[in-house]
């Protein structure tokens, strides 16, 4: 292969367009050989270079006094006091998971875990956000089954609790599911490790598993849409080994406890190529690598294959020569491959040797700096301004029954019981609430974690949808009593070369930027996944937001469960009965139309701050934010979580009952409080000019609205819990990973 002639076809197969090919020759000053072409192709792929998104990503707020590392490192890092930091990131593994759901999802978890422990942090929690196609579509079940067991299979084995996430269904994901994995780690400030090479003469060390032929061109695959030949791409999916990952994690953290490491980076997308390139590029240095020293899984691999392999569980590290033996000792204890494969130079070039020849010789800075950056054409889609009004509406209790058991709102117990969510013994709030809460080990502090997005809002209006995704994350963190600190984002879109898709992307960033700024919750890490489309049909814009908040004392943590009688329910925030782009319209009437509910960020901030202070004062017994399905669904979820009924009354209002109960107006919370606290809370709200409304009281075993209807909690719970297991029944009796 090394002697292949570089033809125009070959260049096109590598995903480079004519202009990029021309530019490549300019940077190099000559024709590339095949290995060099491969390197250019992955480094300039959308996946690695962010060439379509860079211009817009720069607009996102990334700074706050508590931000230690923003975007640009392996993961973001924020200060949580006492010399401790939280390191976190979310990443997509959409394309591989569609092709090979078990391994695709498993290696997604593996990759994000490495991003976190490469920074020196011990991972303490994983989350995920999953989007599947129509449940009626035969393939959906197979994908759900494979993805869930893949995520569990990997995370459970490494021993990191998977504590939260979300899972939704829509036909727009039929050809492109979304698998976004988030990992969160804990580290002392002075142990944070970076990926900036320094000190010419320092050695480049290869760690972890051996290199095989798997995953070659994974990054390029993730930079194109799918067509009918999608199954032929199976060999580009990597195979994960969580056992090796666990050893790698322990070995790296053991070595990181010393000060031997100068720089470290995991080999993720584009493997050895991007890890070596990025480390050298960040330090403005050169790097020399001898591929004959790289531990290989099979003989006869070419330089091209070694450089582009995406074999999992591998790391690249720069270390001072005098520390090599200490490091080798640790890695041999953990029975991992450890090889000195090169050194840092000040030549500014990447020189790759293989079998006594120079397989590649590339200028690092020019290649990195002159990576293409596009200002792609974009158009903004008109938002539908009017919400359709169906001729008849069902009874409120009928609608509640349908909503609570619809695919998106049904209990996801079937999923999270396959994830070990209690290992490490610090999971204080289990999956199922507004946000998961993990205790910071050995302290009274808690970290609140959530993943959120409402793709149907983004599809209706990208700016509003971007704003709402961040606001909902902020609200979820607030509802457990946490101070929201920062987010990571995973931006899943279709083909950016389409102006409509690019318009959605630009709009989403605009909305997110505004929300991050006003809610003071900067972006510290993230990932963009374009080309989530099949045969020209893209997914809904899905900017998944991974939010992190801090609870100073777990004594003031809040849950959603109403588990005692005699509590009073108070609604915080204004209700207008907004039904545009609502779940109610979609699930009850099959209508996906109308504008999404507007988010008023200043009010959001004001309402949330009040709720948080009420929680901290100890005057709240249960709290839930209102999102999908509106007020009645929120109350039902609180009631189901605690096994206690509620009696509600419909206040005097001009809003139609179904709009009042199921409208999705933003910036709202339901509080359950003791009798003695009702008056003071209403007074506080009044003096701060925040709308607050008494809704009813808790008790009994039914959800009822006075004189209108009564639903037994047991029946509702049965419906809520059975949709998912019933849906998955046909796959439950066979193992899917084999």
């Amino acid at each position: 292969m090394a002697n292949s002639t570089i033809t125009a076809e070959l260049v096109a197969e590598h995903g480079l367009d004519d202009k990029e090919a021309e530019h490549m020759i300019e940077v190099l000053g000559r024709e590339p050989n095949i290995t060099e072409l491969g390197i250019f192709s992955v480094m300039w792929s959308e996946h690695c270079s962010y060439k379509s998104s860079k211009k817009w990503l720069r607009e996102l707020p990334t700074q706050a006094p508590w931000v230690i590392h923003g975007p640009g490192e392996n993961a973001g890092a924020i200060d949580i006091g006492d010399g401790q930091a939280i390191v976190f990131k979310i990443e997509s593994h959409n394309h591989p998971s569609f092709i090979e759901p078990y391994q695709g999802a498993a290696t997604g978890v593996g990759g994000i875990l490495r991003d976190v422990f490469t920074m020196g942090a011990r991972p303490i929690a994983n989350l995920n956000a999953l989007r599947f196609g129509n449940p009626e579509n035969n393939k959906t079940r197979h994908l759900v089954s494979g993805v869930v067991s893949g995520i569990g299979g990997y995370g459970n084995c490494v021993g990191i609790p998977t504590v939260g996430g979300e899972c939704g269904f829509h036909p727009c994901y039929d050809g492109n599911i979304l698998v976004n994995a988030m990992s969160v780690g804990l580290v002392e400030h002075d142990r944070i490790h970076c990926a900036r090479a320094s000190g010419p003469g320092n050695l480049v060390i290869y760690l972890g598993a051996k290199t095989g032929r798997d995953g070659i061109h994974g990054a390029t695959m993730a930079s194109a849409g799918f067509d009918d030949a999608v199954d032929a791409k199976r060999p580009t999916v990597q195979v994960g080994d969580p056992f090796t990952e666990k050893l790698l994690l322990e070995a790296c953290l053991e070595l990181m406890a010393t000060d031997a490491i100068v720089a470290i980076q995991d080999m993720g997308a584009a493997g050895l190529t991007s890890s070596s390139f990025e480390m050298a590029s960040r330090g403005d240095l050169g790097i020399e690598i001898d591929l004959d020293q790289v531990p290989l899984r099979e003989p006869g691999m070419s330089a091209y294959e070694i450089m582009l392999s995406e074999s999992q569980e591998r790391m690249l590290m720069v270390i001072r020569p005098d520390r090599v033996e200490d490091a080798r000792k640790i890695f041999s204890k953990w029975e991992l491959d450890f090889a000195v494969i090169g050194q840092v130079t000040n030549s500014g070039r990447m020189v790759i040797r293989h079998q006594n020849t120079i397989a590649a010789d590339l200028p690092i800075k020019p290649l990195a700096d002159s990576a293409p950056e596009y200002d792609r054409t974009w158009v903004r889609k008109e938002t539908s301004l009017s919400t359709p009004k169906p001729a008849t509406e069902p009874d409120i209790d009928t609608a509640l029954n349908l909503l609570i058991s619809c695919p998106d709102l049904s209990s996801k117990r079937w999923i999270w019981e396959q994830y070990d969510h209690t290992v490490m013994a610090d999971t204080v709030q289990l999956p199922g609430g507004d946000a998961a809460v993990i205790r910071v080990h050995g302290t009274a502090k808690g970290i609140a974690l959530t993943t959120d997005c409402t793709p149907r809002y983004c599809a209706a209006n990208a700016v509003e949808g971007g704003r709402q995704a961040v606001a909902e994350s902020w609200r979820n963190l607030t509802a457990v009593g946490a101070q929201p600190l920062a987010i990571t984002n995973c931006l899943n879109f279709g083909n950016p070369e389409r102006p409509e898709t690019m318009g959605q992307f630009v709009g989403t960033i605009e909305g997110m930027t505004e929300a991050c700024r006003i809610l003071n919750m900067p972006v510290v890490s993230g990932n963009v996944s374009f080309y989530n489309e099949t045969r020209g049909s893209p997914v809904h814009p899905t900017p998944t937001i991974g939010g992190v908040g801090l609870i100073e004392s777990l004594n003031s943590m809040q849950r959603i469960a109403i588990d005692e009688a005699g509590l009073h329910l108070i609604l915080i925030g204004s209700t207008y009965g907004h039904l545009g782009a609502s779940l109610y319209l979609r699930e009850i009437h099959g209508i996906e139309d109308g504008p999404p509910p507007p988010v008023n960020l200043n009010l959001e901030q004001k309402h949330g701050s009040l709720v948080r202070s009420l929680i901290h004062r100890g005057t709240v017994r249960a709290c839930h934010d209102i999102s999908d399905g509106g007020l009645l669904v929120a109350v039902a979820e609180m009631s189901l979580a605690g096994g206690t009924g509620v009696t509600l009354f419909l206040p005097e209002t001009d809003i139609a009952p179904h709009a009042f109960w199921f409208g999705e107006d933003q910036g709202r919370y339901v509080l359950a409080v003791e009798d003695k606290n009702v008056e003071p809370i209403l007074l506080t709200c009044c003096s701060e000019n925040i709308p607050a409304l008494q809704l009813g009281t808790s008790g009994g075993s039914h959800i009822s609205v006075e004189e209108s209807f009564q639903i037994s909690l047991a029946d509702l719970s049965y419906k809520h819990e059975t949709w998912f297991p019933d849906f998955m029944k046909n796959t439950d009796n066979r193992s899917v990973e084999d």
């Binding site: 056992f243 666990k246 396959q418 204080v428 205790r439 777990l554």
Partner: protein, 228 residues
């Protein structure tokens, strides 16, 4: 009281057990790497949960042949209290210290949830802080937890009161619905014939802290300290 936690490549509950033991005994447990061949005088050995050797070949099969296990078997046989939790239980059956085997859950799925257990025998160093037939609660998290053995051994286990815990519902019924993995006879944990070795699938170390909403596991560790 001197305690030891055996650490294999792939153990992942070693740290959780270490903390539970530290809190119960007020002293630091010894963490013993699988490649060691001997250990000092020890009053309690714990084999923690996890995926030793990635569960390759068969859960617990490779760990049972680790160098340290020869020493563990010999100590257990001479009476040192030895506790195997989850993967530790699987390893104990693979060494032959306990009878039977832990097969794949009948659902074929990993199961992580909170379960009720009925204490079947409170007459042991591990269980004497519980009452007979008391209902306690602990989390489980495993893929291979379905206890199986031949009829003869099962009868022997039952007749000699060597069943420590059985899965049950909130009122103590050991029904099929309350069995999370298909274990024979709803068995969640068993003793060896001298009752100095206990293997159990549920995780007592994950239920030792009031903030987690459950503390039944702490009573097992406290019982061990009290009987020392």
């Amino acid at each position: 009281m001197k305690t030891a936690v055996i650490v294999f490549p792939g153990s992942n509950c070693d740290r959780d057990v270490q903390i539970a033991l530290r809190n119960a005994t007020d002293s630091e447990p010894l963490m013993i790497w699988h490649q060691e061949t001997e250990m000092p005088s020890i009053d309690l050995i714990v084999i923690p949960g996890g995926f030793s050797y990635g569960d390759y070949l068969r859960s617990g099969a490779m760990a049972a042949h680790s160098p340290i296990m020869r020493e563990v078997v010999s100590r257990a046989q001479s009476g040192t209290p030895t506790l195997g939790i989850c993967n530790g239980f699987q390893i104990l059956t693979e060494t032959g210290l306990l009878p039977g085997a832990l097969m794949r859950n009948t659902s074929l799925k990993f199961a992580c949830c909170s379960v009720f257990l009925r204490v079947e025998n409170s007459y042991s160093a591990f269980t004497h802080h519980y009452d007979d037939e008391e209902i306690i609660s602990m989390p489980i998290a495993h893929l291979d937890g379905s206890f199986y053995t031949d009829d003869f051994t099962l009868t022997k286990l039952i007749d000699n009161s060597l069943v420590a815990f059985r899965y049950c519902d909130a009122s103590g019924n050991t029904s099929k619905e309350a069995n999370p993995n298909g274990s024979l006879h709803n068995i969640a944990g068993i003793f060896n014939s001298s009752r100095n070795v206990l293997g159990m699938m549920p995780h007592p170390e994950r239920s030792t802290d009031p903030i987690m909403g459950r503390t039944d596991g702490a009573r097992l560790f406290d019982a061990l300290v009290a009987s020392f």
